[in-house]
Symmetry: C2
Subunit: 267 residues, 2 copies
């Protein structure tokens, strides 16, 4: 049986890129879940006949909602260096561009290494009950989420915007770069926590740095990741989010940033 | 007298974009200081005849060193929405593309607001001596830097990669979006602190979120900014950096991220 994630990120080669299809299992309020779009772009770059190395950096700008159905990603290999490769891409649907971005692939080398951030002080995933996002958030049903703090089950506005959660694909699926890209967008908008309610919000630009080597992804396998994120500043209709995705064994697999639009009358 | 920063970011309109010139005052070890390239891109986007709103997000990928002389930035307005505008751009020099990226401009609206990160516990800039970067770092001479922690005057490898410094243009110059973009790349590579020495290193991809409204830039004027940054993970020849740029009055003006290449034999 094919995993819904693999169905949703399936690609058909076309002239200059790939064609993908939105998948009902990954619907968001308006258009598809941004994470599945990011995942599909990563899958497309990896499938590119000239691709070298593995994903290192991905930026995805959401310019307009993606409508249900087919979408095309046109990929340009901007430059291939000895240890890295630069891509640009544009996502379009019939009447025009709906998203665009850049990516860098890199060759991992053996160097001095250290993880400077500390793994958050939490219990293992079994220490927290599985708690789904609200029923109407279709894409979230593809993740098993266990909140350590900052779930949507809140009692009014919160003092902080931090969400920390254990999560993995549901059903469990071995982690790969597309899945990691998707999980990097799996945090609901931070402004919900601070306002204690839903407000219109949507990611404008997402950047993920993939720290994990292929061997580290393999070590992680289908186990839970610890994902944590918070905002630095809310203002003028936008906020940022900085997140970290940790492997079960304490490996920092990815760091991720986004800037998000929100609508909220002045308090 | 024209400020060197304005000379270095000067633009000549060409078909589909702008032509810029490298400036000797902003030289780095190999090619120009990345910050001045980012600043010039922001200036070019602001000068674009179709530009609406103000810079919100900039991603710049450095694909190859920029050689001394002229470079061209080709700008595409991907999509203009009611409250934001999406750009893609490619920087080229004679033989091909050397950099590329995306940007989003946004319209600031009055909304509920809060800065969740705390301003670092430091004295004012006058509490720290001016300390220049080493003589051979040409671009750094255009900044007055006062280190709170994490300068290059170090005694061997450091336990942490944090640099916190007060800085401003030298001579002082009122802050604008290009100058803020430049300052977002003003941290030397974090790996220098951890290794206690210089190693070959260079930014691969830089993303800056501009939180400041035009009015907040005006409030900041030509005063010192407090800039702080650290890495999360070093490994496999790459590290990330997350930084914040604060105004003198405690306004979080920008947050910035980059992924950096480094070369270092395994310890």
């Amino acid at each position: 049986m094919t995993h819904a994630f693999d169905e949703a990120t399936a690609l058909e080669p076309i002239d200059g890129g790939f064609r993908a299809q939105t998948h009902p299992a990954y619907n968001n309020m308006v258009g598809p879940f941004g994470g599945i779009t990011a995942a599909t772009v990563v899958a497309a770059l990896q499938a590119h006949p000239e691709a070298q190395g593995h994903p290192l950096s991905l930026t995805l700008n959401f310019a307009a909602p993606i409508k249900d159905g087919a979408w095309d990603v046109a990929i340009t290999v901007l430059r291939t260096n000895r240890t890295n490769q630069h891509f640009t891409y544009v996502i379009s649907q019939g009447d025009g561009a709906v998203a665009s971005g850049t990516a860098v692939f890199g060759t991992r080398r053996d160097t001095w290494s250290d993880t400077e951030l500390a793994f958050p002080p939490v219990q293992g995933p079994e220490g927290y009950a599985e708690l789904s996002m609200p029923e109407f958030v279709e894409w979230a049903k593809n993740y098993e989420t266990r909140f350590v703090e900052g779930s949507l089950e809140m009692d009014g506005p919160q003092d902080g915007s931090t969400t920390t959660m254990w999560l993995r694909d549901k059903p469990a699926r071995p982690l790969d770069y597309p899945a990691l890209a998707s999980i990097s967008d799996s945090f609901f908008p931070r402004v919900f926590l601070r306002r204690g309610t839903y407000v219109p919000a949507g990611t404008i630009s997402l950047t993920t740095y993939f720290h994990a080597s292929p061997a580290e992804l393999e070590q992680q396998g289908a186990d839970h990741l610890l994902a944590t994120a918070r905002a630095a500043r809310f203002g003028h209709g936008h906020f940022d989010q900085y997140g970290q995705l940790w492997g079960r064994n304490g490996t920092l697999l990815a760091t991720t940033h986004q800037i998000v639009y929100y609508k909220d009358p002045k308090a």
